[in-house]
């Protein structure tokens, strides 16, 4: 089964538009101005689902889809956020607690309706929604059983649109998990760049290994405990990448990758983590008050080694050669750091496969994010050229 990248882009676009409509409905119902942060789609395994959802307590509204697109959609709030939404709805409608719960369900119904609206047109076939179900769960159980089962077997496509209120502390996600077989068929085009779907997951495994290597390198250089928290291969509109990284200030390094695939690799530390890591790399009690030349030198050196470790397995598995440039040191808003990277890739593609790995350092004291953005067509070519395996 092959996935046509253009079709995947098309579905991502439909989901983005759907999320905008859902956000507008919510704004109209509650008077709270909403902003859609980003919509991404990834093919996730059971492990990734566990990493993504574990330890959080959710309230959700679940609806099944039937017809032209089969699967499940879930509007999921972390518990505190759901309570906040209930308060907002109470204020807006002046109703009781019980009604607020049912209005969360009704709200989910309206929002998911908005989200799916437009998909039927694209597919040329009606999509029916089953009645909304109010759910509460801890961890991945907030997702429907079928989806978790599918993730165990062959992976499941997970669409996620993040919505955030502009003036109050309210954020949540709309998840869509289409039924695997039907969706893979919908994604199979006859032209354009195609990637065999099983190799996409093979590449995700490779990326996970790379993140493990990079985490190991940090451990070796600093003597601190490190652990890969989350690693995911996402398919996102390029313009959404800076927003996903956010406006916080980061210290890091940017590399160009040369070879097949070419692309970019960005390693970002929050300022505190950068200082911790840098001082751990120095002998004695050396540390800097502000981010200066010492931190810069340490982060560049570490970034270099991490990057080699990260992409090490790629060339072996893909049977190609990949090199990286010397590190470009950056210390700025995350979104601004990403802007020239997406600009460079943006001359050739509209969407990107982003490998996004988070490494925890020293327990939860520090963290490091690695973003790898391979050239989409070259990645497709390299993956397609692989000899078929079992």
């Amino acid at each position: 089964m092959k996935v046509d990248i253009r079709e995947l882009g098309q579905f991502n676009h439909l989901a983005s538009q759907g999320a905008e409509r859902a956000a507008r409905s919510l704004s109209q119902l509650t008077g709270v101005a909403m902003d859609v942060e980003v919509t991404d789609v990834s093919l996730v395994t059971e492990n990734v689902l566990a990493e993504t959802f574990t330890g959080k307590s959710f309230v959700g509204v679940e609806l099944g889809l039937e017809g032209g697109l089969e699967g499940e959609t879930v509007l999921a709030f972390e518990r505190e956020r759901a309570l906040m939404l209930q308060d907002l709805l109470l204020k807006a409608t002046g109703s009781s607690d019980e009604l607020a719960q049912s209005s969360v369900t009704e709200l989910g119904n309206i929002m998911i309706g908005g989200f799916i609206d437009g998909w039927a047109n694209h597919l040329g076939e009606a999509i029916n929604m089953t009645p909304p179900k109010y759910t509460e769960a801890v961890g991945p159980r907030i997702l429907p059983d079928q989806a978790i089962e599918a993730a165990k077997n062959h992976g499941v496509f997970l669409f996620e649109s993040k919505l955030k209120a502009m003036d109050v502390d309210l954020d949540f996600s709309i998840y869509m998990l289409p039924e695997y077989r039907q969706f893979v068929e919908l994604l199979s085009g006859n032209e354009g760049n195609q990637i065999p779907v099983n190799r996409l997951s093979a590449f995700e495994d490779l990326a996970k290994e790379g993140a493990g290597n990079a985490a190991g390198q940090i451990g070796m250089m600093t003597g601190l405990d490190t652990d890969v928290d989350v690693s995911r291969l996402r398919f996102v509109p390029l313009k959404g990448v800076p927003r996903q990284v956010g406006d916080d200030r980061y210290v890091g390094v940017v590399f160009e990758l040369k070879g097949l695939p070419s692309g970019y690799l960005v390693v970002l530390f929050d300022e505190e983590s950068a200082k911790t890591v840098a001082s751990s790399m120095m002998p004695g009690d050396t540390s800097e008050e502000e981010i200066g030349t010492m931190t810069e030198g340490a982060i560049k050196e570490l970034g270099n080694i991490m990057t080699s470790g990260f992409i090490d397995g790629w060339a072996n598995v893909l049977g190609t050669s990949i090199e990286h440039t010397p590190p470009n040191f950056v210390h700025d808003m995350g979104s601004a750091i990403m802007s020239p990277v997406v600009g460079k890739l943006g001359t050739q593609q509209e969407y990107a496969f982003v490998i996004d790995s988070t490494i925890e350092i020293d327990g939860r004291q520090g963290r490091c994010d690695i973003y790898a953005l391979p050239n989409e067509r070259e990645l497709a070519r390299a993956l397609s050229a692989l000899p078929a395996r079992g």
Binding site: E20, R24, S27, Q28, G31, A33, D35, M166, D167, K239, G240, P242, R243, D247, R249, V254, E256, T325, N328, V330, H331, D332, M333, G334, S335, A336, I337, M338, S339, P340, V341, V342, G343, K344, G346, T347, Q348, Q349, E350
Partner: protein
């Protein structure tokens, strides 16, 4: 591309993402963040109180395979001017402010940086439209976030080290 209608929701702040734009005829504050090599272009007609902001990413559309007009300087500026006029602005009364176009990263490939090409093309096109650039904060090697307040006719620029200036 995302188009916002001015009457579609009762907010007084609007966040504009990359390759997006907004035009307003009231005092809604227009915000965009994370301008690195990207360029934020604000057009303002104080006579008719029409304000517009676009966050463009690349100079010209022929470089890319998609055609989201708000993503490029060469299609984004005409789009913003048209939308401003449709909202009641007068081209002769428009003034421009441009921010961003920095060189965050020294890439080994490809001549001039995206940032400097974005700036050069924006200056050229605004000149062709006869729209004066009344303020700018461009180039350098750092990122910027901006907010335009139509009530004051002022554009505030913030950098990562929390420094702000207004043009």
């Amino acid at each position: 591309m995302k188009r916002f209608d001015t009457d579609d929701q009762p907010v007084d702040r609007r966040k504009i993402g990359i390759a997006e734009y907004a035009v307003v005829t009231d005092e809604t504050v227009l915000i965009t963040s994370g301008l690195g090599s990207c360029l934020g272009i604000v057009l303002y007609d104080p006579r008719n109180t029409v304000s517009g902001l676009i966050h463009v990413m690349l100079p010209t559309v022929d470089q890319a395979r998609d055609s989201t007009p708000a993503k490029f300087v060469d299609t984004g500026i005409p789009l913003l001017v048209d939308e401003m006029e449709a909202a009641g602005a007068d081209r002769d009364a428009m003034e421009a402010r441009i921010v961003g176009g920095s060189e965050m990263i020294q890439f080994t490939s490809g001549g001039d940086s995206i940032g400097s090409r974005n700036i050069a093309l924006a200056e050229q096109l605004l000149d062709e439209y006869g729209i004066e650039i009344v303020g700018s904060d461009i180039g350098g090697g750092h990122g910027r976030s901006i907010r335009f307040d139509p009530a004051a006719g002022a554009l505030t620029i913030r950098t990562a080290d929390e420094e702000t200036r207004t043009i």
